[in-house]
Symmetry: C2
Amino acid sequence: MPQYRAPVEDTLFLLTDVLGFHARDNLVGFADASPDVIEAVLREGAKLAEEVLAPINRTGDLEGCRRDADGTVRTPTGFKAAYDTYASGGWMGLSVPEAYGGQGLPHTLNTAIQEFASGANLAFGMYPGLTQGAMAALLVHGTEEQKALYLPRMVEGAWTGTMNLTEPHCGTDLGLLKTKAVPNGDGAYSITGTKIFISAGEHDLAENIVHLVLARIEGAPAGTKGISLFVVPKVLVNADGSLGARNGVSCGSLEHKMGIHGNATCVMNYDGATGWLVGQENRGLNAMFVMMNEARLAVGVQGLGQSEVAYQNAAAYAKDRLQGRALTGAKAPDKAADPIIVHPDVRRTLMQIRAFNEAARALMLWTALQADILHRSEDARERQAADDYLGLMTPVVKGVFTDRGFANAVEAQQLLGGHGYIEEWGMSQFVRDARIAMIYEGANGIQAMDLIGRKLPKDGGRAMMTFLGEVQTFLKDHGEDPAMAPFTQPLQAGLNDLQGAVMWLMQNAFAKPDNAGAGATDFMHLFGLVALGYMWARIAKAAQAKHAEAPSPRWESKLTSGRFYMERMLPETALRLARIKAGADSTMALAADAF
Amino acid sequence: MPQYRAPVEDTLFLLTDVLGFHARDNLVGFADASPDVIEAVLREGAKLAEEVLAPINRTGDLEGCRRDADGTVRTPTGFKAAYDTYASGGWMGLSVPEAYGGQGLPHTLNTAIQEFASGANLAFGMYPGLTQGAMAALLVHGTEEQKALYLPRMVEGAWTGTMNLTEPHCGTDLGLLKTKAVPNGDGAYSITGTKIFISAGEHDLAENIVHLVLARIEGAPAGTKGISLFVVPKVLVNADGSLGARNGVSCGSLEHKMGIHGNATCVMNYDGATGWLVGQENRGLNAMFVMMNEARLAVGVQGLGQSEVAYQNAAAYAKDRLQGRALTGAKAPDKAADPIIVHPDVRRTLMQIRAFNEAARALMLWTALQADILHRSEDARERQAADDYLGLMTPVVKGVFTDRGFANAVEAQQLLGGHGYIEEWGMSQFVRDARIAMIYEGANGIQAMDLIGRKLPKDGGRAMMTFLGEVQTFLKDHGEDPAMAPFTQPLQAGLNDLQGAVMWLMQNAFAKPDNAGAGATDFMHLFGLVALGYMWARIAKAAQAKHAEAPSPRWESKLTSGRFYMERMLPETALRLARIKAGADSTMALAADAF
């Protein structure tokens, strides 16, 4: 059976030695997050992931969710007990303000825990993950009354949350959505329509479900400018917070999916369900974007989580499985064959995954820290910079982490040969589960378009210029250090390619937007490669310092992994740039009926 | 429900206009394969694939195979009827010599039909595919008596075939295998041992199953030099060809797999089963390699088949699904939104898949033609060249076609967004089914090692030098033609990268074999990129001629797809070369326990 070990040590190293987390006492809640507290929380979170969530991952896949004739949905055996443990441990509200019952700890810490949960059990992790997203939207756009009514119960885990966007005829293009909201005259609305692909839409983990639903108020403009956001509880909530009557929303059916079987993906029927407006009329998409941005980062984290767990199990297999002899002579002459980890192609695979994982973890935490700065700093300039950074990096974290996360799960599966294809070994599940992360919360092609079409040109390209400047400054600061040359030189080449792509787009995409569209996915990956390369350079700097302090194979391994990234992975920037510069001509030339 | 259309027109164009198939009348059986016959066979094969095999693909996935308590295995509903249609149509023996009841038609034609079957229903296609592989081994290494006893019944489809190599502790490293063969004294052997992952090991499609089994004769040397090949029928065959007693071989259990549910993957228990030696004692691996090489090419074809069917269904969806507007203004202003095929990133995806498929089909047929030359030419020099070519290209076709085939299925799935993840839409099955092709018949890392470690240096590099020379000659012949410049110039760059890699390996891999191992997968893909680029250049030449003859959008589309390949896909050679030249240092530096 596959195992999972949460990367606590690596997370601590990144927070403390690479990202300067503990120097951030100016942020609300960070003073409480002393090194001791951080370490204790991470270790507890690791225990939860390893001992509670991981053991029910495969059984959840096998059993899946079942919908009974009355529309109730049962989650797999063990999910309810695990959920109770999760909720009673206070994990749901880890970074929710204390005013609503949360612990008010940094979101960065919560993000680390999200990685652990996603690695241990993706299907389970989505239930609390969606709840946290819904809380984030209510925190920003809900009325005081709504916050008081819903948040404390959600923090307790008594109620969970969902996001309801997609309809049968529209997912990406929400302007087409048809779900109707009719004012009841008492401030509430009557919601009618069908939503599909609603994760955690119905289940038996909690006594209520708080649906956030996009709908069009009768008479509202067509398109995205006529969409409003509503909170629609599964069970109506009395003014005193007690539960009232069942609302007019139900699960019509469950989808049969490639993976994440333990999560209930529901068709939700709204049949005159009572809902209340969240935020302003016709500004629903804007309000939902709070949840979507949070969710997009969380989905990127899922990609990393699956990449990590797949890596761990492939590495364990590679150290154990005896097959063939090393090219350089037997390494285990006393055995019938060498463990396959002696083979260069096996190592190449493992190195490729770990070199991604370690840098992605850094980028994930660095990005989460920007979210903390945005929400907790008192310095407006710092908040602005964090907001720029988050906008720019969200599609990259979502798109690149999930593309690579899935590809890494596939590569890890490959190391097990035929056993990788057999369900009992668990690698197939990692692949099948990881696959969804490339699709939901905006398919990765949409992330690429968001990056190149919106985030890149926004404010005259300010966010990108700041990023490029930051990396260039790092390179200037460390370019003279010969020990850093194996990192700074390739990073400079990658940065040049990124700058080259930005320049080319400025010159060629305004007049011909298809040139941006045809290069969007390549640009997203080019950016991701450089951002991860930058993380590796920062990690290398910190690891060199640690190694100078107290030499250890741990720091040597770090530096080797970083070197592998620089030599073998970062050079992909040149290919991505070449593709972008090829432009849209051959991509767009065919008539539609030629396909 | 997903659909499949066999690429008959493209196959005809490739055979006739690109590969000079009909100029090959010097080969046995080719004179019978007139253009009319070829076209008729392809159209009948297409009908079979589209109307008989494709309709039971999804039901086969859902239902899977079931093993009853008595060890019998039931294939999914409809498989038996489809198998009867397949067998009675004479498809099994399409290219088997007429002496054994076959039609003696070219293997190239059979390969085209294999693509159709693999695209329509991979799990089904494996049953006849393994039978054809077993027949190939018996044809080359069986005694006259064995051939007369088994082949006619296999050609009829009354009996099927399998290959039994893998054991629980060994797959790649067959030197470790333990299955024992003890002489019975009457020329037969008693076989005892356990084999795993045996595709089509037990089923209800045919009255007998002819197992080809690797085992070690008592007292034989350890390692691969003590392995012999045996034919072990499920039901013993009397001298007159009638069926006798049940042999001591049975299916112990079925594997639960990620995909190809319609194919029975068996644990086979040999319990003193009676078997007969095929080929020489202790030369079993050599004899099995006939079947393995045939099977490796067939598995490459499976990768292409899955890539093609996934492409077709993604393209159909992209033309149908309305979502968003074209960047250059509405293309379907009368509709609520444009079909998503207007979006450049959607087209990029489709172009990438079709640009692979069309060149891969050419390379597949070209390689199959070499097999025909090898087995049917009377010219020893021509046979030698074909043998060189086949040895060199087999790992490339297997490894590259299946890596790309799977990646393409994933990309195609992505175009359906959430629907791609829902089983009913069928894209998930293509991904899950295509996944196995990267693993079985030698995992792709093994293919890469076979290429770089055995095939490349063999005979002083003769095969590779011939290939490089052939492409260089093509470039010399067409380098002055301005219409060909968009193809010849990029191809020259790719060829230079391939030559650069070969040179670097000659200089750096002999002394340090890990440098070859660490670059093996990149070298395989680099080679594949250039081989497919060469195919595109040849296709372009032919398409330009056809277009000059009778202008048609069909030839324009061909040329555009080729240009897309040259601009966006072939440049990957530079990245592959850079990785190879990075050498093994950072790949091999970590201690095993650091993973």
